[in-house]
Amino acid sequence: MDIFDLTIHELHDELMHRRISSVEAARAMLERIKAVEPQVGSFITVTPERALADAAAADLRIGAGDAGVLTGIPLAFKDIFLTEGIRTTCGSRILNNFIPPYSATCYEKLKEQGVVLLGKLNQDEFAMGSSNESSAFGVTRNPWDTTRIPGGSSGGSAAAVAARQATAALGTDTGGSIRQPASHCGCVGLKPTYGRVSRYGVIAYASSLDQVGPLTRDVTDCAIMLGAIAGHDPGDSTSVNVPVPNYRAALAGGVKGLRIGLPKEYFISGLDPDVQKSMDAAIETYRRLGAEFVDISLPHTDYAVATYYLIATAEASSNLARYDGVRFGHRTEAAPGLLDMYTRSRSEGFGAEVKRRIMLGTYALSSGYYDAYYVKAQKVRTLIMQDFTAAFEAVDVMLTPVAPTPAFKIGEKVNDPLQMYLSDIFTIPVNLAGTCAMSIPAGFSAHGLPVGLQLIGKPFGEESILQTAYAFEQATEWHLRKAVIL
Protein backbone atom coordinates (compact mmCIF):
# COMPACT_ATOMS: atom_id res chain seq x y z
CA MET A 1 0.00 0.00 0.00
CA ASP A 2 1.41 3.39 -1.04
CA ILE A 3 1.04 6.35 1.30
CA PHE A 4 -0.92 8.27 -1.33
CA ASP A 5 -3.52 5.49 -1.37
CA LEU A 6 -4.46 6.07 2.28
CA THR A 7 -7.61 7.90 3.37
CA ILE A 8 -7.52 10.55 6.11
CA HIS A 9 -8.55 8.10 8.82
CA GLU A 10 -6.10 5.44 7.62
CA LEU A 11 -3.18 7.88 7.42
CA HIS A 12 -4.11 9.24 10.84
CA ASP A 13 -3.75 5.74 12.29
CA GLU A 14 -0.34 5.35 10.65
CA LEU A 15 0.78 8.73 12.01
CA MET A 16 -0.46 7.92 15.51
CA HIS A 17 1.37 4.59 15.53
CA ARG A 18 4.53 6.34 14.25
CA ARG A 19 4.67 3.99 11.27
CA ILE A 20 4.75 6.97 8.94
CA SER A 21 5.80 10.54 9.72
CA SER A 22 3.93 13.52 8.37
CA VAL A 23 7.07 14.59 6.47
CA GLU A 24 7.21 11.16 4.80
CA ALA A 25 3.54 11.47 3.90
CA ALA A 26 4.06 14.97 2.46
CA ARG A 27 7.04 13.76 0.40
CA ALA A 28 5.04 10.81 -0.93
CA MET A 29 2.21 13.12 -1.99
CA LEU A 30 4.58 15.62 -3.63
CA GLU A 31 6.19 12.79 -5.60
CA ARG A 32 2.80 11.50 -6.62
CA ILE A 33 1.81 15.01 -7.77
CA LYS A 34 4.97 15.21 -9.86
CA ALA A 35 4.35 11.77 -11.37
CA VAL A 36 0.74 12.20 -12.54
CA GLU A 37 0.35 15.96 -12.88
CA PRO A 38 1.40 16.02 -16.57
CA GLN A 39 -1.55 13.73 -17.40
CA VAL A 40 -4.12 15.20 -14.99
CA GLY A 41 -3.44 18.93 -14.50
CA SER A 42 -5.20 19.24 -11.13
CA PHE A 43 -3.02 22.01 -9.72
CA ILE A 44 -2.49 25.68 -10.46
CA THR A 45 0.17 26.09 -7.77
CA VAL A 46 2.07 23.36 -5.89
CA THR A 47 3.63 24.48 -2.59
CA PRO A 48 6.35 21.91 -1.74
CA GLU A 49 8.29 24.09 0.71
CA ARG A 50 5.16 25.01 2.57
CA ALA A 51 4.04 21.36 2.62
CA LEU A 52 7.31 20.17 4.15
CA ALA A 53 7.30 22.97 6.75
CA ASP A 54 3.67 22.21 7.68
CA ALA A 55 4.54 18.51 7.91
CA ALA A 56 7.55 19.12 10.16
CA ALA A 57 5.35 21.20 12.48
CA ALA A 58 2.73 18.44 12.45
CA ASP A 59 5.33 15.83 13.40
CA LEU A 60 6.27 17.97 16.41
CA ARG A 61 2.61 18.12 17.47
CA ILE A 62 2.23 14.39 17.04
CA GLY A 63 5.40 13.85 19.09
CA ALA A 64 4.04 16.12 21.82
CA GLY A 65 0.75 14.21 21.96
CA ASP A 66 -1.15 17.26 20.70
CA ALA A 67 -2.50 15.79 17.45
CA GLY A 68 -6.06 15.77 16.14
CA VAL A 69 -7.42 13.55 13.38
CA LEU A 70 -6.31 16.05 10.70
CA THR A 71 -2.84 16.80 12.08
CA GLY A 72 -0.25 15.97 9.43
CA ILE A 73 -2.82 15.17 6.71
CA PRO A 74 -1.83 16.46 3.23
CA LEU A 75 -4.65 18.49 1.68
CA ALA A 76 -5.09 20.70 -1.37
CA PHE A 77 -7.50 23.59 -1.85
CA LYS A 78 -9.45 24.88 -4.80
CA ASP A 79 -7.77 28.11 -5.88
CA ILE A 80 -10.86 30.05 -4.79
CA PHE A 81 -9.80 30.00 -1.11
CA LEU A 82 -7.60 32.87 -0.01
CA THR A 83 -4.32 31.62 1.44
CA GLU A 84 -2.23 34.37 2.97
CA GLY A 85 1.10 34.77 1.20
CA ILE A 86 0.29 32.10 -1.41
CA ARG A 87 -0.87 33.10 -4.89
CA THR A 88 -4.64 32.70 -5.32
CA THR A 89 -5.99 33.03 -8.88
CA CYS A 90 -9.55 31.67 -8.88
CA GLY A 91 -8.58 30.22 -12.27
CA SER A 92 -8.47 33.71 -13.80
CA ARG A 93 -5.87 35.77 -15.60
CA ILE A 94 -7.21 38.81 -13.78
CA LEU A 95 -5.80 37.39 -10.50
CA ASN A 96 -2.68 35.90 -12.08
CA ASN A 97 -0.35 37.60 -9.57
CA PHE A 98 -2.67 38.04 -6.61
CA ILE A 99 -1.09 37.24 -3.22
CA PRO A 100 -3.86 37.42 -0.59
CA PRO A 101 -3.14 39.42 2.57
CA TYR A 102 -5.35 37.10 4.65
CA SER A 103 -6.77 33.56 4.60
CA ALA A 104 -10.23 32.06 4.30
CA THR A 105 -11.75 30.98 7.62
CA CYS A 106 -12.10 27.35 6.48
CA TYR A 107 -8.39 27.26 5.61
CA GLU A 108 -7.51 28.86 8.96
CA LYS A 109 -9.59 26.25 10.77
CA LEU A 110 -7.85 23.39 8.99
CA LYS A 111 -4.47 25.01 9.55
CA GLU A 112 -5.16 25.14 13.28
CA GLN A 113 -5.78 21.39 13.09
CA GLY A 114 -2.28 21.00 11.66
CA VAL A 115 -3.05 20.01 8.06
CA VAL A 116 -0.34 20.07 5.41
CA LEU A 117 -0.90 22.39 2.42
CA LEU A 118 0.13 20.73 -0.86
CA GLY A 119 -1.08 23.50 -3.13
CA LYS A 120 -3.93 25.21 -4.91
CA LEU A 121 -6.19 23.38 -7.31
CA ASN A 122 -7.38 24.10 -10.82
CA GLN A 123 -10.99 25.17 -11.37
CA ASP A 124 -13.28 26.85 -13.83
CA GLU A 125 -12.58 30.58 -13.92
CA PHE A 126 -14.37 32.19 -10.94
CA ALA A 127 -16.11 28.81 -10.44
CA MET A 128 -18.18 29.39 -13.59
CA GLY A 129 -18.35 26.13 -15.46
CA SER A 130 -19.15 22.44 -15.34
CA SER A 131 -16.02 21.04 -16.98
CA ASN A 132 -12.90 22.92 -15.75
CA GLU A 133 -12.37 24.02 -19.36
CA SER A 134 -12.82 27.70 -18.54
CA SER A 135 -9.68 27.86 -16.38
CA ALA A 136 -7.04 30.32 -17.58
CA PHE A 137 -4.42 27.79 -16.47
CA GLY A 138 -5.23 24.88 -18.78
CA VAL A 139 -7.75 22.06 -18.64
CA THR A 140 -7.86 19.40 -15.95
CA ARG A 141 -8.33 15.86 -17.21
CA ASN A 142 -10.44 13.11 -15.68
CA PRO A 143 -8.10 10.54 -14.06
CA TRP A 144 -10.43 7.72 -15.19
CA ASP A 145 -10.18 8.77 -18.85
CA THR A 146 -7.89 11.65 -19.69
CA THR A 147 -9.82 12.48 -22.88
CA ARG A 148 -12.74 13.52 -20.66
CA ILE A 149 -13.54 16.43 -18.39
CA PRO A 150 -13.35 15.96 -14.60
CA GLY A 151 -16.48 18.05 -14.10
CA GLY A 152 -16.49 21.52 -12.61
CA SER A 153 -16.10 23.93 -11.23
CA SER A 154 -14.16 22.08 -8.48
CA GLY A 155 -12.70 19.79 -11.17
CA GLY A 156 -9.15 20.08 -9.87
CA SER A 157 -10.31 19.12 -6.37
CA ALA A 158 -12.10 15.99 -7.59
CA ALA A 159 -9.33 15.00 -10.00
CA ALA A 160 -6.63 15.45 -7.33
CA VAL A 161 -8.49 13.20 -4.89
CA ALA A 162 -9.21 10.58 -7.56
CA ALA A 163 -5.62 10.67 -8.85
CA ARG A 164 -4.33 10.33 -5.27
CA GLN A 165 -2.52 13.68 -5.46
CA ALA A 166 -4.08 14.85 -2.19
CA THR A 167 -5.57 12.84 0.67
CA ALA A 168 -8.62 15.14 0.52
CA ALA A 169 -9.53 18.52 -0.93
CA LEU A 170 -11.81 21.48 -0.39
CA GLY A 171 -14.11 22.86 -3.07
CA THR A 172 -17.09 25.15 -3.47
CA ASP A 173 -20.55 24.44 -4.86
CA THR A 174 -22.82 27.13 -6.34
CA GLY A 175 -24.88 24.97 -8.71
CA GLY A 176 -23.28 21.54 -8.33
CA SER A 177 -19.58 22.40 -8.45
CA ILE A 178 -18.62 19.90 -5.71
CA ARG A 179 -21.15 17.14 -6.42
CA GLN A 180 -20.87 16.94 -10.21
CA PRO A 181 -17.04 16.62 -10.34
CA ALA A 182 -17.16 14.21 -7.37
CA SER A 183 -19.60 12.09 -9.37
CA HIS A 184 -17.49 12.23 -12.55
CA CYS A 185 -14.26 11.37 -10.69
CA GLY A 186 -15.65 8.76 -8.28
CA CYS A 187 -15.13 10.72 -5.04
CA VAL A 188 -17.36 11.65 -2.15
CA GLY A 189 -18.38 15.33 -2.29
CA LEU A 190 -20.68 17.21 0.06
CA LYS A 191 -22.37 20.58 -0.36
CA PRO A 192 -23.44 21.68 3.11
CA THR A 193 -26.57 23.65 3.92
CA TYR A 194 -26.21 27.33 3.03
CA GLY A 195 -24.69 29.02 6.10
CA ARG A 196 -23.20 25.82 7.56
CA VAL A 197 -19.64 26.78 6.52
CA SER A 198 -18.19 30.30 6.51
CA ARG A 199 -17.63 31.93 3.12
CA TYR A 200 -15.18 34.46 4.59
CA GLY A 201 -12.11 34.63 2.35
CA VAL A 202 -13.76 32.54 -0.38
CA ILE A 203 -13.80 34.46 -3.66
CA ALA A 204 -17.45 35.23 -4.39
CA TYR A 205 -19.36 34.06 -7.46
CA ALA A 206 -23.07 34.05 -6.49
CA SER A 207 -23.25 34.91 -2.83
CA SER A 208 -26.76 33.59 -2.08
CA LEU A 209 -25.79 30.15 -3.49
CA ASP A 210 -22.03 29.64 -2.86
CA GLN A 211 -21.10 27.10 -0.20
CA VAL A 212 -17.83 25.40 0.83
CA GLY A 213 -17.48 21.64 1.18
CA PRO A 214 -15.11 18.66 1.15
CA LEU A 215 -14.15 16.20 -1.59
CA THR A 216 -12.82 12.97 -0.12
CA ARG A 217 -12.13 9.32 -0.79
CA ASP A 218 -14.81 7.99 1.54
CA VAL A 219 -17.73 9.03 3.72
CA THR A 220 -15.77 8.87 6.98
CA ASP A 221 -13.24 11.37 5.62
CA CYS A 222 -16.12 13.56 4.47
CA ALA A 223 -17.57 13.62 7.99
CA ILE A 224 -14.14 14.45 9.44
CA MET A 225 -13.58 17.35 7.02
CA LEU A 226 -17.09 18.77 7.42
CA GLY A 227 -16.76 18.74 11.20
CA ALA A 228 -13.52 20.70 10.92
CA ILE A 229 -14.84 23.49 8.69
CA ALA A 230 -18.46 23.88 9.86
CA GLY A 231 -19.65 26.51 12.28
CA HIS A 232 -20.56 30.15 12.72
CA ASP A 233 -18.00 32.80 11.82
CA PRO A 234 -18.35 36.46 12.76
CA GLY A 235 -16.49 37.19 9.49
CA ASP A 236 -19.46 35.84 7.47
CA SER A 237 -22.75 37.25 8.71
CA THR A 238 -24.64 34.69 6.59
CA SER A 239 -23.04 31.78 8.43
CA VAL A 240 -25.61 30.31 10.78
CA ASN A 241 -25.12 29.80 14.50
CA VAL A 242 -26.28 26.19 14.75
CA PRO A 243 -24.22 23.77 16.90
CA VAL A 244 -21.85 21.51 14.93
CA PRO A 245 -22.65 17.87 15.69
CA ASN A 246 -20.07 15.08 15.76
CA TYR A 247 -20.66 13.96 12.16
CA ARG A 248 -18.38 10.97 12.43
CA ALA A 249 -20.24 9.64 15.47
CA ALA A 250 -23.49 9.78 13.48
CA LEU A 251 -22.28 7.57 10.61
CA ALA A 252 -23.12 4.12 11.90
CA GLY A 253 -26.87 4.49 12.51
CA GLY A 254 -27.97 2.47 9.48
CA VAL A 255 -31.00 3.04 7.24
CA LYS A 256 -33.59 0.63 8.65
CA GLY A 257 -36.96 2.35 8.41
CA LEU A 258 -35.45 5.41 6.71
CA ARG A 259 -37.87 6.99 4.25
CA ILE A 260 -36.04 7.79 1.01
CA GLY A 261 -37.84 9.95 -1.53
CA LEU A 262 -37.51 9.44 -5.29
CA PRO A 263 -38.50 12.70 -7.01
CA LYS A 264 -40.10 11.65 -10.29
CA GLU A 265 -38.76 14.74 -12.12
CA TYR A 266 -35.20 13.42 -11.64
CA PHE A 267 -35.84 10.06 -13.25
CA ILE A 268 -36.58 11.33 -16.72
CA SER A 269 -36.61 9.21 -19.86
CA GLY A 270 -33.50 10.93 -21.26
CA LEU A 271 -31.35 9.66 -18.40
CA ASP A 272 -28.20 7.87 -19.57
CA PRO A 273 -28.75 4.07 -19.35
CA ASP A 274 -25.55 3.60 -17.31
CA VAL A 275 -26.74 6.22 -14.81
CA GLN A 276 -30.21 4.65 -14.69
CA LYS A 277 -28.68 1.23 -14.06
CA SER A 278 -26.60 2.52 -11.14
CA MET A 279 -29.64 4.27 -9.64
CA ASP A 280 -31.71 1.07 -9.90
CA ALA A 281 -28.96 -0.96 -8.25
CA ALA A 282 -28.55 1.62 -5.47
CA ILE A 283 -32.29 1.59 -4.75
CA GLU A 284 -32.14 -2.21 -4.55
CA THR A 285 -29.18 -2.03 -2.12
CA TYR A 286 -30.99 0.42 0.15
CA ARG A 287 -34.14 -1.70 0.05
CA ARG A 288 -32.09 -4.70 1.14
CA LEU A 289 -30.69 -2.61 4.01
CA GLY A 290 -34.20 -1.87 5.24
CA ALA A 291 -34.94 1.57 3.80
CA GLU A 292 -38.40 2.45 2.48
CA PHE A 293 -38.92 4.27 -0.80
CA VAL A 294 -41.53 6.93 -1.35
CA ASP A 295 -42.43 8.42 -4.75
CA ILE A 296 -42.42 12.19 -4.45
CA SER A 297 -42.63 15.19 -6.73
CA LEU A 298 -40.65 18.43 -6.93
CA PRO A 299 -42.92 20.05 -9.50
CA HIS A 300 -40.82 23.14 -10.33
CA THR A 301 -37.64 21.19 -11.14
CA ASP A 302 -37.92 21.99 -14.84
CA TYR A 303 -37.56 25.72 -14.05
CA ALA A 304 -34.46 25.41 -11.87
CA VAL A 305 -31.77 25.86 -14.54
CA ALA A 306 -33.46 28.98 -15.95
CA THR A 307 -33.91 30.38 -12.43
CA TYR A 308 -30.31 29.66 -11.55
CA TYR A 309 -28.82 31.26 -14.64
CA LEU A 310 -30.67 34.50 -13.90
CA ILE A 311 -29.94 34.67 -10.17
CA ALA A 312 -26.35 33.40 -10.31
CA THR A 313 -25.35 35.63 -13.22
CA ALA A 314 -27.03 38.68 -11.65
CA GLU A 315 -25.11 38.13 -8.42
CA ALA A 316 -21.92 37.45 -10.38
CA SER A 317 -22.19 40.66 -12.38
CA SER A 318 -22.39 42.55 -9.10
CA ASN A 319 -19.67 40.56 -7.29
CA LEU A 320 -17.22 40.80 -10.18
CA ALA A 321 -17.56 44.58 -10.42
CA ARG A 322 -14.73 44.73 -7.86
CA TYR A 323 -12.19 43.68 -10.50
CA ASP A 324 -11.44 47.13 -11.83
CA GLY A 325 -7.65 47.27 -11.85
CA VAL A 326 -7.45 49.68 -8.91
CA ARG A 327 -6.64 47.80 -5.70
CA PHE A 328 -5.53 44.34 -6.85
CA GLY A 329 -5.56 42.15 -9.92
CA HIS A 330 -4.65 42.87 -13.51
CA ARG A 331 -4.41 46.46 -14.77
CA THR A 332 -4.10 47.22 -18.46
CA GLU A 333 -0.74 48.58 -19.63
CA ALA A 334 -1.92 51.78 -21.20
CA ALA A 335 -5.19 53.55 -20.59
CA PRO A 336 -5.68 57.27 -21.14
CA GLY A 337 -8.51 57.66 -18.61
CA LEU A 338 -10.10 55.93 -15.66
CA LEU A 339 -13.07 54.48 -17.54
CA ASP A 340 -10.78 53.04 -20.23
CA MET A 341 -8.66 51.54 -17.51
CA TYR A 342 -11.65 49.76 -15.94
CA THR A 343 -12.95 48.49 -19.26
CA ARG A 344 -9.62 47.33 -20.70
CA SER A 345 -8.37 45.76 -17.47
CA ARG A 346 -11.58 43.73 -17.19
CA SER A 347 -11.69 42.79 -20.86
CA GLU A 348 -8.07 41.61 -20.84
CA GLY A 349 -8.40 39.80 -17.52
CA PHE A 350 -11.69 37.87 -17.85
CA GLY A 351 -12.18 34.81 -20.05
CA ALA A 352 -15.15 34.17 -22.35
CA GLU A 353 -17.41 32.29 -19.91
CA VAL A 354 -16.97 34.92 -17.20
CA LYS A 355 -17.72 37.71 -19.68
CA ARG A 356 -20.80 35.82 -20.89
CA ARG A 357 -22.17 35.46 -17.36
CA ILE A 358 -21.41 39.07 -16.44
CA MET A 359 -23.25 40.10 -19.61
CA LEU A 360 -26.26 37.90 -18.83
CA GLY A 361 -26.42 39.12 -15.25
CA THR A 362 -26.04 42.75 -16.26
CA TYR A 363 -28.85 42.28 -18.76
CA ALA A 364 -31.11 40.64 -16.14
CA LEU A 365 -30.52 43.52 -13.74
CA SER A 366 -30.74 46.31 -16.30
CA SER A 367 -33.46 48.90 -16.42
CA GLY A 368 -36.61 47.54 -18.03
CA TYR A 369 -35.69 43.86 -17.53
CA TYR A 370 -35.16 43.70 -13.75
CA ASP A 371 -38.72 42.65 -12.88
CA ALA A 372 -39.21 40.39 -15.89
CA TYR A 373 -36.01 38.42 -15.30
CA TYR A 374 -34.39 38.89 -11.90
CA VAL A 375 -37.45 39.33 -9.69
CA LYS A 376 -39.34 36.66 -11.62
CA ALA A 377 -36.47 34.22 -11.01
CA GLN A 378 -36.46 35.07 -7.30
CA LYS A 379 -40.18 34.26 -7.14
CA VAL A 380 -39.70 30.93 -8.89
CA ARG A 381 -36.87 30.27 -6.43
CA THR A 382 -39.45 30.58 -3.65
CA LEU A 383 -41.60 27.94 -5.37
CA ILE A 384 -38.60 25.62 -5.75
CA MET A 385 -37.81 25.99 -2.03
CA GLN A 386 -41.46 25.27 -1.19
CA ASP A 387 -41.27 22.09 -3.28
CA PHE A 388 -38.47 20.80 -1.06
CA THR A 389 -40.17 21.83 2.19
CA ALA A 390 -43.37 20.05 1.17
CA ALA A 391 -41.61 16.90 -0.07
CA PHE A 392 -39.53 16.61 3.10
CA GLU A 393 -42.73 16.25 5.13
CA ALA A 394 -43.03 12.72 3.77
CA VAL A 395 -39.38 11.63 3.54
CA ASP A 396 -36.10 11.84 5.49
CA VAL A 397 -33.72 12.08 2.53
CA MET A 398 -34.00 12.02 -1.27
CA LEU A 399 -32.05 9.88 -3.72
CA THR A 400 -31.39 11.13 -7.27
CA PRO A 401 -28.73 11.01 -9.96
CA VAL A 402 -26.03 13.70 -9.71
CA ALA A 403 -25.65 14.28 -13.44
CA PRO A 404 -27.66 13.04 -16.42
CA THR A 405 -24.57 11.39 -17.99
CA PRO A 406 -21.08 10.27 -16.94
CA ALA A 407 -18.15 12.62 -17.74
CA PHE A 408 -18.29 13.98 -21.29
CA LYS A 409 -15.39 14.52 -23.69
CA ILE A 410 -13.11 17.56 -23.45
CA GLY A 411 -14.37 20.10 -26.00
CA GLU A 412 -17.77 18.42 -26.43
CA LYS A 413 -19.90 21.25 -24.98
CA VAL A 414 -17.48 24.13 -25.02
CA ASN A 415 -19.20 25.94 -27.89
CA ASP A 416 -22.72 25.42 -26.60
CA PRO A 417 -23.09 27.13 -23.21
CA LEU A 418 -26.77 26.25 -22.89
CA GLN A 419 -26.04 22.50 -23.21
CA MET A 420 -23.26 22.92 -20.65
CA TYR A 421 -25.68 24.66 -18.25
CA LEU A 422 -28.25 21.88 -18.63
CA SER A 423 -25.74 19.29 -17.36
CA ASP A 424 -26.32 20.78 -13.88
CA ILE A 425 -30.06 20.12 -13.91
CA PHE A 426 -30.09 17.73 -10.90
CA THR A 427 -27.72 19.69 -8.67
CA ILE A 428 -28.91 23.29 -9.14
CA PRO A 429 -32.27 22.96 -7.31
CA VAL A 430 -30.45 22.11 -4.05
CA ASN A 431 -28.48 25.37 -4.17
CA LEU A 432 -31.63 27.36 -4.89
CA ALA A 433 -33.36 25.66 -1.93
CA GLY A 434 -30.25 26.22 0.24
CA THR A 435 -30.27 22.70 1.63
CA CYS A 436 -27.52 20.05 1.80
CA ALA A 437 -26.65 17.20 -0.57
CA MET A 438 -23.78 14.88 -1.38
CA SER A 439 -22.48 12.70 -4.16
CA ILE A 440 -21.15 9.22 -3.46
CA PRO A 441 -19.69 6.59 -5.82
CA ALA A 442 -22.49 4.29 -7.02
CA GLY A 443 -21.14 2.40 -10.00
CA PHE A 444 -19.37 2.62 -13.33
CA SER A 445 -20.49 3.05 -16.90
CA ALA A 446 -19.81 0.47 -19.58
CA HIS A 447 -16.74 2.58 -20.48
CA GLY A 448 -15.43 2.44 -16.91
CA LEU A 449 -16.46 5.98 -15.94
CA PRO A 450 -17.64 6.63 -12.37
CA VAL A 451 -21.33 7.30 -11.72
CA GLY A 452 -22.37 9.12 -8.56
CA LEU A 453 -25.63 9.12 -6.70
CA GLN A 454 -26.98 12.19 -4.95
CA LEU A 455 -28.46 12.15 -1.45
CA ILE A 456 -30.36 15.32 -0.58
CA GLY A 457 -31.04 16.20 3.05
CA LYS A 458 -33.19 18.64 4.96
CA PRO A 459 -31.61 21.98 5.93
CA PHE A 460 -28.86 21.19 8.46
CA GLY A 461 -29.53 17.48 7.86
CA GLU A 462 -25.90 16.67 7.04
CA GLU A 463 -25.80 13.92 9.71
CA SER A 464 -28.71 12.19 8.06
CA ILE A 465 -27.25 12.14 4.52
CA LEU A 466 -23.82 11.13 5.83
CA GLN A 467 -25.42 8.23 7.71
CA THR A 468 -27.36 7.21 4.60
CA ALA A 469 -24.18 7.44 2.50
CA TYR A 470 -22.15 5.45 5.01
CA ALA A 471 -24.65 2.57 5.01
CA PHE A 472 -24.33 2.37 1.20
CA GLU A 473 -20.55 2.55 1.33
CA GLN A 474 -20.46 -0.32 3.86
CA ALA A 475 -22.61 -2.44 1.55
CA THR A 476 -20.75 -1.69 -1.72
CA GLU A 477 -17.18 -1.49 -2.98
CA TRP A 478 -17.42 1.27 -5.60
CA HIS A 479 -15.37 3.69 -3.49
CA LEU A 480 -12.46 1.22 -3.36
CA ARG A 481 -11.82 1.25 -7.12
CA LYS A 482 -8.82 3.23 -8.22
CA ALA A 483 -8.24 5.13 -11.44
CA VAL A 484 -5.44 3.88 -13.66
CA ILE A 485 -3.96 7.03 -15.13
CA LEU A 486 -2.87 6.62 -18.75
Partner: protein, 95 residues
Protein backbone atom coordinates in the same frame (compact mmCIF):
# COMPACT_ATOMS: atom_id res chain seq x y z
CA UNK B 1 -36.05 36.92 -27.96
CA UNK B 2 -33.94 38.73 -30.46
CA UNK B 3 -30.67 40.00 -29.02
CA UNK B 4 -28.84 42.21 -31.50
CA UNK B 5 -25.23 43.31 -31.64
CA UNK B 6 -26.47 46.75 -30.52
CA UNK B 7 -28.02 45.16 -27.40
CA UNK B 8 -24.73 43.40 -26.69
CA UNK B 9 -22.85 46.68 -27.05
CA UNK B 10 -25.25 48.40 -24.65
CA UNK B 11 -24.92 45.67 -22.00
CA UNK B 12 -21.14 45.51 -22.43
CA UNK B 13 -20.97 49.25 -21.76
CA UNK B 14 -22.98 48.80 -18.55
CA UNK B 15 -20.71 45.92 -17.51
CA UNK B 16 -17.52 47.86 -18.32
CA UNK B 17 -16.47 45.30 -20.89
CA UNK B 18 -15.02 45.87 -24.33
CA UNK B 19 -15.76 43.12 -26.88
CA UNK B 20 -14.24 42.63 -30.30
CA UNK B 21 -16.57 42.25 -33.31
CA UNK B 22 -16.37 38.43 -33.27
CA UNK B 23 -17.22 38.28 -29.57
CA UNK B 24 -20.15 40.63 -30.09
CA UNK B 25 -21.83 38.46 -32.69
CA UNK B 26 -20.99 35.27 -30.77
CA UNK B 27 -22.49 36.67 -27.56
CA UNK B 28 -25.54 37.99 -29.40
CA UNK B 29 -26.34 34.48 -30.62
CA UNK B 30 -25.54 32.76 -27.33
CA UNK B 31 -27.40 35.29 -25.17
CA UNK B 32 -30.34 34.99 -27.53
CA UNK B 33 -30.40 31.20 -27.03
CA UNK B 34 -29.99 31.41 -23.24
CA UNK B 35 -32.54 34.20 -22.78
CA UNK B 36 -34.87 32.29 -25.10
CA UNK B 37 -34.52 29.30 -22.77
CA UNK B 38 -35.25 31.31 -19.61
CA UNK B 39 -38.45 32.61 -21.23
CA UNK B 40 -40.02 29.43 -19.88
CA UNK B 41 -40.24 31.13 -16.47
CA UNK B 42 -42.98 33.33 -17.91
CA UNK B 43 -45.19 30.24 -17.88
CA UNK B 44 -45.00 29.94 -14.08
CA UNK B 45 -47.78 31.58 -12.11
CA UNK B 46 -46.04 33.63 -9.41
CA UNK B 47 -48.99 35.80 -8.37
CA UNK B 48 -48.67 36.58 -4.67
CA UNK B 49 -45.32 34.76 -4.36
CA UNK B 50 -42.69 36.60 -2.34
CA UNK B 51 -39.27 36.71 -4.01
CA UNK B 52 -36.41 34.88 -2.24
CA UNK B 53 -33.08 36.67 -2.07
CA UNK B 54 -31.60 34.35 0.52
CA UNK B 55 -32.06 30.68 1.40
CA UNK B 56 -31.89 31.17 5.17
CA UNK B 57 -34.30 33.63 6.77
CA UNK B 58 -32.10 36.17 8.49
CA UNK B 59 -32.27 39.35 10.54
CA UNK B 60 -29.58 41.99 10.47
CA UNK B 61 -26.40 40.61 12.01
CA UNK B 62 -25.20 43.26 14.43
CA UNK B 63 -21.88 43.30 16.24
CA UNK B 64 -20.41 45.60 18.84
CA UNK B 65 -18.78 48.70 17.47
CA UNK B 66 -15.23 48.05 18.63
CA UNK B 67 -11.87 49.03 17.19
CA UNK B 68 -9.91 46.04 15.97
CA UNK B 69 -6.46 45.62 14.46
CA UNK B 70 -6.50 46.00 10.68
CA UNK B 71 -4.02 45.70 7.80
CA UNK B 72 -1.01 47.97 7.76
CA UNK B 73 -0.92 50.41 4.84
CA UNK B 74 1.80 48.39 3.15
CA UNK B 75 -0.15 45.16 3.45
CA UNK B 76 -3.31 46.78 2.08
CA UNK B 77 -1.35 48.20 -0.85
CA UNK B 78 0.76 45.11 -1.49
CA UNK B 79 -1.33 44.01 -4.50
CA UNK B 80 -1.88 47.50 -5.91
CA UNK B 81 -1.10 47.69 -9.63
CA UNK B 82 0.17 51.21 -9.00
CA UNK B 83 0.68 53.20 -5.81
CA UNK B 84 2.11 56.45 -4.60
CA UNK B 85 2.98 56.95 -0.94
CA UNK B 86 0.02 55.51 0.98
CA UNK B 87 -2.46 55.67 -1.91
CA UNK B 88 -3.69 53.60 -4.84
CA UNK B 89 -2.80 55.51 -7.99
CA UNK B 90 -5.25 55.62 -10.93
CA UNK B 91 -5.25 57.48 -14.26
CA UNK B 92 -6.34 61.09 -14.13
CA UNK B 93 -10.10 61.47 -13.62
CA UNK B 94 -10.56 65.23 -14.09
CA UNK B 95 -8.83 67.14 -16.85
Amino acid sequence: MNITVADVEHVARLARLELDPDEKSLFAGQMDAILGYVEKLKGVNTDGIVPTSHAVPMENAFREDLTRPSFSIDKALANAPDRVESFFRVPKVIE
